[in-house]
């Protein structure tokens, strides 16, 4: 075996230039493929993380019927035994209660429909770092009487400043009128314009009071220690709460996002497929030539007593060497670059940024360092290498020894 590996390695360098060109094509393909996949997966992860942290959580518990009809009348009365259930499962790291509804926000002549969310300040901040997004004024504190937090987009639209009063008008629980006025305590800025323009936050008691829904919640969102524990945590909760509750996983609650990712992902994979097809032909061509031009050498080796299967191993090693060198060198070059862009995501500007905003995606492109990206590219290249050897192997097994030696 050692002998075969030595032969394969040296054969690779017989036509140095051709091997280098082939290696370069594998190398470029590996770099491109890994970079594309890393950015795609990075963007997906950031989209998912946004959706999970700012809205649904990995798992959400709400009253049965709420998801299809997101209405304050479908809220549920908070029962402390729920938190006991969450605390019992060690995969659940955080549970975040919310009361969400809609209202008209007005100030002087200006009016706008807004999404009102009553939050537990500490838990909400732990979930999505809301406190850090405050650019003017203060985040909620532990005082019972709190003001309201609004986005800078809404503040601009309603021409409101810190300390001004915002009037909220809407429908409360079971048809009650919901009306209140709140001093603007803080103005936040999110990377997503949509949130800046339409979201306002109240403390949970203030929101419950406003909507006449004392002690009620519309949802409890759960964060997990470990993303792989989603189904098991869901099962656990379902087993321990009664059937008036519904427990949902994030993909079911973010169907458009999931579809968007799947579509984009499929597009990316097709692109990689085309890229690799081109590379595969290059590798195949090289291996084929390397085999054809050594026909007589092979015939002589078989004549003096080398079994054909050993020659086929030699050719397989030759292609595997090409694949491995391409994978290893490509990965070594691209990895530090990706690590950099993982830590410092590319911030998009201009038209690209606007497109992202329109789709409700934060306009950054973080690089993902998910090991599966590297693993899949590696496996793909090795498969290409081995597949490229098939025809040469078939060819070797049919070399007529006597006839070939005569030429």
């Amino acid at each position: 075996m050692k002998q075969i590996i030595i032969l394969a390695w040296r054969n690779l360098w017989r036509n140095r230039r051709r091997t280098m060109i082939t290696l370069a094509s594998v190398f470029m393909a590996v770099i491109l493929a890994i970079a594309i996949r890393s950015l795609q997966k990075g963007v997906y992860a950031s989209m998912i993380s946004n959706a999970v942290r700012f809205s649904t959580g990995y798992i959400q518990v709400h009253a049965k019927g709420y998801w299809d009809d997101q209405n304050i009348n479908n809220s549920f009365e908070y029962d402390p035994s729920l938190s006991a259930v969450f605390q019992k499962n060690k995969d659940i790291s955080l549970y975040v209660p919310r009361l969400e509804s809609f209202a008209l926000a007005s100030s002087g002549p200006h009016t706008k429909g807004v999404a009102v969310t009553g939050i537990d300040p500490e838990k909400e901040d732990e979930m999505n770092g809301l406190a850090k997004k405050i650019i003017e004024g203060d985040y909620f504190n532990s005082q019972p009487q709190q003001g309201i937090l609004i986005g800078d987009g809404l503040a601009e639209y309603l021409q409101l400043h810190l300390g001004d009063t915002l009037v909220l008008l809407g429908q409360g629980y079971h048809g009650a009128t919901a009306a209140g006025q709140f001093p603007i305590q803080g103005i936040f800025h999110y990377p997503l314009d949509q949130m800046n323009n339409t979201m306002v936050f109240l403390s949970l008691p203030d929101a419950q009071l406003l909507f006449g829904a004392e002690n009620s919640l519309t949802s409890i969102s759960l964060m997990l220690q470990n993303e792989n524990a989603i189904s098991s945590a869901k099962e656990f909760i379902e087993k321990h709460v009664d059937s008036t509750y519904e427990v949902m996983e994030w993909p079911a609650m973010n169907k458009t996002l999931v579809q968007e990712i799947q579509g984009d992902n499929a597009g990316g994979i097709i692109m990689l497929g085309i890229l690799y097809l081109v590379v595969a032909f290059g590798v195949f061509g090289t291996i084929l030539m390397m085999t054809m031009e050594r026909k007589k050498e092979f015939a002589a080796m078989i004549a003096v007593g080398m079994r054909r299967f050993k020659l086929t191993f030699m050719v397989i090693f030759e292609t595997i060497f090409i694949g491995l060198i391409g994978i290893v060198s490509g990965t070594l070059i691209i990895l530090p670059i990706l690590i950099y862009f993982h830590r410092h995501p590319v911030a998009l500007t201009g038209a690209a940024a606007e497109t992202y905003q329109q789709f409700g995606i934060e306009p950054v492109m973080p690089a993902s360092l998910d090991p599966s990206i590297f693993l899949y590219q590696g496996i793909t290249v090795l498969c290409i290498a081995i597949l490229s050897a098939f025809y040469p192997l078939w060819y070797i097994n049919r070399i007529p020894v006597a006839g070939t030696l005569k030429q």
């Binding site: 032969l7 050498e297 002589a300 078989i302 004549a303 003096v304 007593g305 080398m306 030696l405």
Partner: protein, 236 residues
């Protein structure tokens, strides 16, 4: 017991529209220690005969027996192993492995036989000494002259300790000086170590060194002459 026995050997090539009867019923026996030339006009079937005797191709009919082993009915893989352990080959165009050094080319055969390292190294050193190539041990073939490459090929053929060596026109690509050196080395191995050689040739000077000359014509043996110690007689 003869080393090689060829009985009623026929080979017909059907690759073209007209069948070519390259061998037309050849009967021959070769004894241990022979130094035999197969001669005849171009196309008379010399290469075909050597290929059948070496198990490189299958006869249309007839039998080739090597010390009791009928090689005409062996399975392909078995036949490769049989060649490895029993037959040495020397080719007209040397056919050394270009990416291996002289030493590695000779070891190549012995590694296929799973010999141990010490044995391989001793044998390489001994064979290169006999061939007068000790200073080329770590050189790759392309840095050697044709004559030197063919001497390495002889060393490679001997490395496996075969029962006999087949050489199809081993000197056809060599100049007369290299031809003399190679032939003298082969004759010396034949006399001192009783190595059996069967080779084909067109070259009169090569024929003169042979101790037995088999002449073929149209795939048939037309003469088989033993010139006992003809070499020595001429030289003394």
């Amino acid at each position: 017991m003869p080393v090689i026995e060829v009985k009623q050997l026929k080979k017909t090539y059907n690759e073209t529209m007209v069948p070519v009867h390259a061998l037309n019923g050849v009967d021959l026996t070769f004894e241990k220690g022979e130094f035999t030339a197969i001669v005849g006009p171009s196309g008379c079937g010399k290469t075909t005969l050597l290929n059948m005797m070496g198990g490189l191709d299958r006869p249309t009919s007839g039998i080739v027996t090597i010390e009791n082993d009928d090689i005409t009915n062996m399975k392909a893989g078995e036949l490769v192993d049989f060649r490895l352990n029993n037959i040495g080959f020397i080719f007209q165009s040397y056919n050394l492995i270009p990416v291996l050094t002289v030493k590695e080319n000779i070891e190549f055969i012995m590694e296929l036989q799973h010999r141990n390292r010490k044995e391989m190294e001793d044998r390489v050193r001994y064979l290169l000494e006999v061939m007068g190539l000790s200073d080329k041990i770590n050189v790759r073939p392309r840095y050697l002259s044709g004559g030197q490459q063919q001497r390495v090929a002889v060393a490679r053929a001997l490395a496996s300790k075969p029962k006999f060596i087949l050489a199809d026109e081993p000197t056809a690509n060599l100049d007369s000086k290299s031809t003399d050196i190679l032939l003298d080395l082969m004759a010396e191995l034949n006399q001192k170590e009783n190595v059996t050689f069967v080779f084909s040739t067109h070259d009169q000077r090569v024929m003169d060194k042979a101790r037995r000359i088999i002449t073929l014509e149209d795939g048939k043996v037309i003469s088989d002459i033993k010139q006992v110690k003809s070499n020595e007689a001429r030289h003394s």
